[in-house]
Amino acid sequence: MEPTPWDPEGVTVVLDPNGQLVGTHPSNLDAKQLYKLLVAARCLDLRLGRAGLPMWASAAGEEAALVSTALVSRESDWIYPGFRDVAVALARGLEIEAIVAGLFAGDEVGPGRIASATHRIAPPTDALGIHLGLASGRAHAQKLDGSGAATFALFGEGLTTTGAFHESTMLASSLGLPLVMVCRSQLWPDGAPAEAGTVGDSVADRAKAAGLWVRRVDGADALGTHAAIEAAADRARQGRGPSLVEVVVTQMHRDPPAHRDPVERLRRHLDNTGAWTQTLQDVIEAEVRGSLDRALRVVNEETSA
């Protein structure tokens, strides 16, 4: 398959656009489990998009980064997500009912946002990028404690022009912290606009210059994304310092070619290996939608009561 303007350059690829394995991924990864979570995350995103949450932004197309971060993390690790990263909560094991209730209640963290002290998902911040500073502090504590735990911070490339991003990477780098930064970079097939903050170079290049271990992967390639985040987390746990995984994503609302969709690409892979059937798909979707409908009904009843 010829590369299109929608295909990112300079990325490590494990799963090609047809879903063929062209690289290696950890053999203990359950690709079917990853797929189920990607589908669930997509269903959740689409349904929430219609639910009228204030300031809601879709993360459709970005699921591989979110789900992989949560799958790679251990119970003792902390995750510092951004605003639209609800899929993290799903993959970290929160029930859909709890997620939906949290998103609509939003008492302390604001509507449309998710946090859970028991699942070690940190609340988002009002001030732009300050969750990166909270995350570097958490990672500093993990290092001082020698606990072998790691901290994950999630954000988009828009944040990488802020002082908060640069200071957090310098703190992590100069102190050798177990911090894994997962940055989703949007793909701009027609060239990046000024507000993207990059001029054809990559966030990974810039972070490398700041002393971080970096990988740039394709967010449409869920196996490659998972492998890179796992390698970064392993380094953090071994005391080998901070890292940044740049995941190049294509937002689905921009109507890209089908192979840019991480859900579809992993489906092709499972189909190739005989692990995917329409029945499997129907069962996953029915289960998620059932829980979602129930959860939204409870929320609606509570709001109208």
Partner: protein
Amino acid sequence: MNVLQHLATVIADLLRSDDRRVVLGEDVADGTMLGLTKVAAEDEALAGRLLSTPLSPTVLPAHAAGLAAEGFRPLVIYPEASALVDSLAAVREAAKLGWRHGTQAPVVFIAPLGPGFGLGGGSTEGTASVLARVPGLRVVVLADANEAGAVLRAAVEGWAGDEPTVLLIPRTLALATVEQGADALARPFATPRRVREGEAATVFTWGACLPLVRAAVERSGHDARIVDVECLAPLDRSALAEEAKATGKIVIAHEGPRHCGVGSELAALFADDAILTLDAPVLRITGDDGPLAASSEARALPDLETLTTAITHVATY
């Protein structure tokens, strides 16, 4: 021993007594510009908890709050109170963590405040009032050389709670001699304290202004009581109103701009809660609004003559 040297010994003691305490700042491993970690830096057993960081004005308070969320008790040393305004976004998030996350971030920020070193500019801006407006943040200003170490200890030991606390050291106090440093406060922390009894008027003040107020009261010859507000946020509203009602005649004196200074909030508080017992207009005597050059930084403090006249005016009203 001056106040800064005394505080340095207290910081070393605090590190010795709890190994979850750490110090953050640009040059804490080398003693800091103010020498506040000099004593700790000479003790090998403590050096590992002096965590020098790169200059990080935007995120450092958040970084400290992240450490605190995991059980550490960070002290963050700033070279200048107005640098905390550079950090305002992160200070706000640190102060909100208890509400948002269910667990407070017990960070103590230490910074010098106001005129005294001939710097002018940012040091004359009355930064305390900006910080006092941050929800969830405690703001305490030192006023007494002999109590400085004990107040620091009370802040770090969380006598008034685990909220993030800013402890400001007036530069005019920094080099004052500590004659007999108190080990522990023999009074409640972070609450108004009467430093002179009197019935003719109540003068509310804090920080660098306290010695000026003492001098002005003596010069005026009136028997005015003096109240050191000490904690600018949260204000102990009922205790302050009681002190106002006791004489019904009020002067508020503080360093820094009059406009949106904490004195404005106090005057409004007395209008809200004590107006029926007031017998004279509430007078605010403050520094100039600025900006002020280094050569005129003394104007960030009230003038002794104006202060004396104000006390006489309300006492004889």
